[in-house]
């Protein structure tokens, strides 16, 4: 963690250089730039020069013995940002350090903690939260080494750092609770183990001064929103014991880190984001596999290209890491590279795969091999993305865009830590995001553009977390009926009402003398998942033996668990025999099937409430080349609305209607069946895009072909959204209509697939313009003629005119004047269920929905 910062590290790098003769990275870069076959594939080079760090003296307040420990570990002075962060933390501020990987963030929060331990003679306590178990264990080792350093010096009381996770033996837990000065754990253990049993942890809470939250950029979506509530519970329990801890957080570079931290912690934080660490020269290359079939837009497989380029970038005098998206890809590529080891001058044993699911011992062994240099090539999933210490490698290959800028930089940060030159190769797949990045590599290097979705006040998550909080300590209402006196939930809108609901309707709580008491024979944290929705998942079991085969979420169960569906696990086919819808279980029988099934669903989106809107008029931006009108029709006037975007609450009903049996390989249709399942209901928030009928007609979006293009546009927006909103395409649901029942005209709805929504619609509304421009760019630049998977979808799906149709829509929508915010109620809302925000707000003032933070 701290090793690799100071002169010790540069010494190591210098030794490395002399021993290896010419620097391997420079040699590889030269070869990639020289050879024609690589030159045509690498579409972009980007270089960042070597940078000297800015140093600062140790803060005056730091104890000499602590400075001595750092010196022993090769840290002679601090980098400027480290010193700033440490001073702010010791000053009692909440601090977020948002600097790139390898900039020495660990020091920023270990030093204040150790300093306070020394100052309080071991009375202070700190709780460290890491997103994974492995990371917590890794960091415990580092902390323990520092503590031992302190302990060797005279007269200091021994401090203890412990990992607390599911593997901690019960015999150790008691010691840890009473004597652990620093407890390193993860959000799940905090949620299910520590907080519900806080009285056992009284020693920790009484002295709690710092809560360290590592890698906060990974806390978004449902998980992040749940963790934000777990942190509220933590602050509340600490306050009960008289402690008011500060947050020390670290993050990869993200957009608006302060705003994200504020939503996560519920308070303002001091952001330190100037990176003053030294860095070696870095080369970035964006590699686009060659087009095999320009008409179909088909490119060579990224995995196959990785195998080819491996011959150049792997070798015995340096270390290379490959990042793949899926576990299967890791296995396949590992096999390929081991087979070709000889060509690279390597032994197969020097090439290792690494992913979740490997046994811990094997993982430790590979990590050690990477650190001591005996492993030359590692192929990993995102398992090696977070801060596990594997030392600094030389070359990183990203097989496909990892889905977020933060992830990209985390992965890139795995190389070049020693100050020597390094190379990052981004390999593009045939997907809209990857192809967009191949055309716009500057996106990767510019300021972060993704917005992190976080909504701790989502009613579903909030109500589940309030249950857990009430179990831990009763809630007290103030005189005015609110929770104003509560140290953590006091400012949360609706919290008091949710508690009333839990008392009156659900019966978990009981209100007496203005206090809500937990009153149920249950341990709520056990049933509340941080990832959301788990309780509703459908378990797929083998008929008879009840052996679990797999699990699927509520919405997907409609298309994967209906009777007659073929369920595939690792190449084995199972047929679903019965689906016990009520008990969320499906029973399957193993069959030899030469076909798979594809279910068709009807999704109906009903608008319940519109909360925000932006629009523009036709007069502001007439359609450039209107489609020819039918014979004899009059041209449309340039009045009224052109297009509008909305955000609001929707009710989504999905019904599975029938399924088709499709033969493997030939894809011929060999039968069909009906599906009889109750519809799935989802109440959530959505982003909506509409066109006025006139504009739609002029853009050709009201015809049947136009409907296909309209839908293809939706799919494209969904797959491109992760460039601007931190999410996976699968987090968004899509529904398009040429004539919406609500708006009466073409409407495209992208909805948050989490019950209640976690703020994605809000972010989409804010990012819609950027998103549409990126979509246009993808389609324009794509080499295919009539559509391919890398842009609007294959021609079989979008039709011969699909690509042209989408282009026409995008040309109009992404250009011209920006849309102006307006009041949602201006549009006539025909259905009587619709409650516009106007009806709710006081004095006609438009209020935003209760679900979203202001």
């Amino acid at each position: 963690m701290i090793a690799g910062n100071g002169p010790e590290a540069s010494l190591k790098a210098a030794l490395g250089k002399t021993k290896r003769g010419t620097k391997p990275v420079e040699r590889i870069v030269a070869e990639l730039k020289r050879e024609a076959r690589w030159r045509e594939r690498i579409v972009h080079w980007h270089e960042t020069p070597e940078r000297h760090g800015r140093q600062k003296d140790f803060p005056a307040r730091m104890a000499p013995e602590l400075i001595e420990v750092l010196r022993q570990r090769g840290v002679e002075s601090l980098r400027a940002h480290q010193a700033t962060a440490i001073e702010a933390a010791l000053d009692g501020q909440d601090v977020l350090v948002a600097t790139p990987t390898a900039s020495g963030k660990t020091v920023c929060y270990t030093v204040p903690v150790l300093q306070r331990l020394l100052e309080t003679n071991g009375q202070a306590r700190a709780l460290f939260l890491y997103p994974t178990k492995a990371l917590a264990q890794d960091q415990t080792v580092g902390l323990t080494a520092m503590i031992e350093g302190l302990g060797r010096q005279q007269g200091n009381q021994a401090f203890h750092a412990f990992t607390y996770d599911g593997d901690t033996p019960p015999s150790v837990r008691r010691t840890l609770r009473d004597r652990g000065h620093m407890v390193l754990t993860n959000p799940w253990m905090l949620h299910q183990g520590i907080l519900p049993n806080h009285s056992k942890w009284a020693e920790l809470f009484k002295g709690l001064e710092y809560i360290i939250v590592d890698e906060v950029h990974s806390l978004s979506g449902v998980f992040g929103s749940s963790v934000a509530n777990v942190l509220r519970r933590l602050v509340r329990i600490a306050a009960h014991y008289g402690a008011h801890p500060r947050f020390l957080a670290s993050s990869a570079t993200v957009r608006e880190p302060a705003a994200h931290a504020e939503r996560l912690f519920g308070r303002k934080v001091t952001v330190v984001d100037e990176d003053a660490s030294p860095a070696g020269k870095r080369y970035f290359a964006v590699y686009n596999p060659p087009l095999l079939n320009p008409v179909a837009g088909l490119r060579a497989s990224a995995l196959e290209e990785a195998r080819k380029v491996a011959k150049v970038i792997c070798g015995s005098d340096h270390q290379t890491i490959f990042f793949c998206g899926r576990r299967t890809a890791v296995e396949v590529l590992t096999r390929y590279l081991k087979e070709g080891a000889k060509d690279m001058g390597l032994k197969p044993s020097e090439i290792r795969g690494y992913r979740g699911g490997y046994l811990p011992n094997m993982r430790r062994e590979i990590e050690a091999g990477l650190k001591d240099g005996s492993v030359k090539v590692v192929i990993s999933t995102n398992a090696l993305e977070l801060g596990i210490d594997i030392g600094a490698l030389d070359v990183a290959v990203l097989v496909g865009y990892p889905g977020s800028q933060a992830s990209f930089w985390q992965r890139a940060g795995r190389v070049g830590r020693r100050g020597g030159p390094s190379l990052v190769l981004q390999l593009a797949r045939s997907e809209p995001t990857d192809q967009y990045l191949a055309a716009h590599p500057e996106y990767l290097f510019a300021a972060p553009r993704e917005r992190l979705g976080l909504d701790p006040d989502n009613l579903v998550l909030l109500s589940e977390q309030l249950k857990c909080a009430a179990f831990e300590l009763p809630f007290q209402r103030a005189e005015d009926g609110t929770l104003a006196g509560d140290p953590a939930f006091g400012q949360v809108p609706d919290a008091a009402e949710v508690l009333s609901y839990l008392a009156e309707e659900s019966g978990f709580l009981m209100e007496r003398e203005r206090t809500f008491f937990w009153m149920a024979d249950a341990y709520p944290a056990q049933d509340v998942s941080l990832a959301g929705g788990d309780l509703d998942n459908v378990l797929i079991l083998e008929q008879g033996s009840e052996r679990a085969l797999g699990e699927t979420d509520r919405e997907s169960s409609l298309v994967t668990c209906h009777e007659g569906a073929i369920y595939q696990v690792q190449g084995v086919t199972w047929r679903i025999e019965t689906f016990d819808h009520k008990n969320r279980r499906a029973y399957a029988k193993q069959v030899e099937s030469d076909y798979y099934t594809e279910a068709q669903t009807d999704t109906d989106v009903r608008v319940l409430r519109l909360e925000e809107c932006s629009r523009r008029d036709r007069a502001d931006y007439p359609v450039a080349q209107p489609m020819p009108l039918p014979e004899g029709a009059d041209a449309f006037d340039q009045v009224g609305e052109d297009t509008s975007v909305w955000r609001g609450e929707v009710h989504v009903t999905t019904v599975a209607t029938l399924y088709k049996k499709i033969r493997f390989y030939t894809k011929e249709n060999v039968g069909a069946g009906e599906i009889h399942l109750p519809p799935e209901e989802l109440d959530t928030e959505a982003f909506m895009l509409t066109l006025s009928s006139e504009t739609a007609a002029e853009l050709g979006a009201s015809s049947a072909d136009g409907g296909t293009a309209w839908h293809a546009l939706g799919e494209l927006m969904r797959s491109t959204a992760p460039l601007f909103v931190r999410c996976q395409p699968s987090d968004l649901g899509l529904s398009t209509q040429v004539r919406s029942t609500h708006f009466g005209r073409p409407t495209l709805v992208l909805y948050d697939r989490v019950q209640g929504g976690v703020g994605l619609s809000d972010l989409l509304l804010a990012a819609q313009r950027e998103l549409l421009a990126a979509c246009l760019d993808v389609v324009q630049r794509c080499a295919c003629e009539r559509g391919c998977p890398a842009c609007v979808g294959p021609v079989e799906e979008v039709g011969a005119e699909g690509k042209a149709g989408v282009l026409r829509l995008l040309e109009h929508l992404s250009k011209g004047p920006a849309l102006e915010p307006c009041e949602p109620a201006e549009l006539d809302a025909p259905e009587d269920e619709v409650i516009s925000a106007k009806d709710l707000g006081p004095e006609g003032h438009v209020t935003r929905g209760a679900l979203l933070p202001e």
Binding site: N197, E472, L530, R585, E681
Partner: protein
Amino acid sequence: MAGRQKNLAGRLKRLRREGTGAGPAGARVIGSEPIETAGVEPTSANTQSSARKFALGRLRERLQGRGQAYGESSSGPRTQPTCPTQLGPPKDLVSWEATHGTCQGREALLSGTDMHGDWRLQEAHLADPQALAIMAQDPRLLAASSGDALFLDTETTGLAGGTGTWVFMVGLGRFRPDGTFELWQGFLPGPEAEKPFLHEVARRIGEAGTLVSFFGKSYDQHRLLDRFRLHGLPSPFENRRHLDLYHPLKRLCGGQGPGPYGDHKLQTLERHLCGHQRVDDLPGSAAPEAWFDFLRGDPHRLEGVFHHNFLDVLSLVTLYGYLGQALTGRRGDGRPLSGSELLRTLALVKSSCKGRDFSGALRLRGAKDFPEGPLEQVLLLDRLRGECLLRTGATAEGEELLESVHLRAQGAEEPGERVKRSALESAQLLARSAAGRQELVRAAEAHQWAGTWLSRWPGLVSHQHAQERMGIRLDRSLLPRPAPGA
């Protein structure tokens, strides 16, 4: 505001998918067991919670034994127990002002001659502290007496623990100097009244010399401690003698495995050992709901909880008396204790050995007192006695007894696993003793017997290691050393 609140409730109901019939989230949380998520990537949370669920399931089984009367072993049709119901608040509830507010509870005075099952309460006075100390493997209990004992049993709102689990009833029984038995049941009439309730409970526990409970060290004590800590009360359990009857009674009735009384639950034991058959008992698992009902203004089952708790405390008294007679095997009037005396003797010898009191173990009866006993129990007893003899210096006698274990096992037709184990261990002990006296030939002979037994029963790792070590030792001593330089 009111309209908005109503609107929010509606939205919550919709969002939480409650009351729609299709998998209401709330209802599932309370009632059914959550689905095990097998087949998915095990996150720390998953592994943690499934281990927890497993542990909870076991705990639940064990504790529900206190509530579910009429165990599996009884044949004949099971009758659904009914429990007393009542209208209105619990009867005879008294309130009094304590230091921290009003307390509520109920107190009953029983005569020492009152019967519970076929035992009189005062038989607890005859309990021999030595028997308690041996069986509980806790020498501090040598100072215990029925006069300073406090019999404790709690009723809680759940088995999972955590700060949201309430202790709402604490039954505490003790003998007064005049010989009467006082059974106090502290009751928590509502969550807001917890402080005085806990102070009173802590005060009473603090006055006890010895606490007597059933599974209390593992359960009741922790639930109470959670509540005490929450209110900043110091632990009254610290440095206090605590006799948890569960483990010693389990040992006494056949140890591990399925003993004659199967589950070792309180109600099974009280039935078999003290002849108490419950009627109209409210199952312990229904207690939380009974209290919640009471809090919501419907006290109909609360009387049942009081009754149930009352009987539990009385059973603690009689089982305490039973355990205290383990050494004599006789009750005060000379009648033998129910249950197998041989098993009891075995348990006593084992517990004494565990406490390294070998001469004490030898004062207990031997196998010759049980001519009719099952071979496996008789041989185990003699193997234990043989070891005690060796350890107390009676080498010849010990070796003779151990050899006889081996011979009797050899003579057995189809010896069971436990017989083979006793024979193997006897032979190994014998070999070690003989080798220690440099009687190498005799040691080698016994070592060979042990080898034969090992071939018939694979033994545990410790047995195999012992065998290997002895083999090496004998080889070194018996074989001529190679000439230097050869």
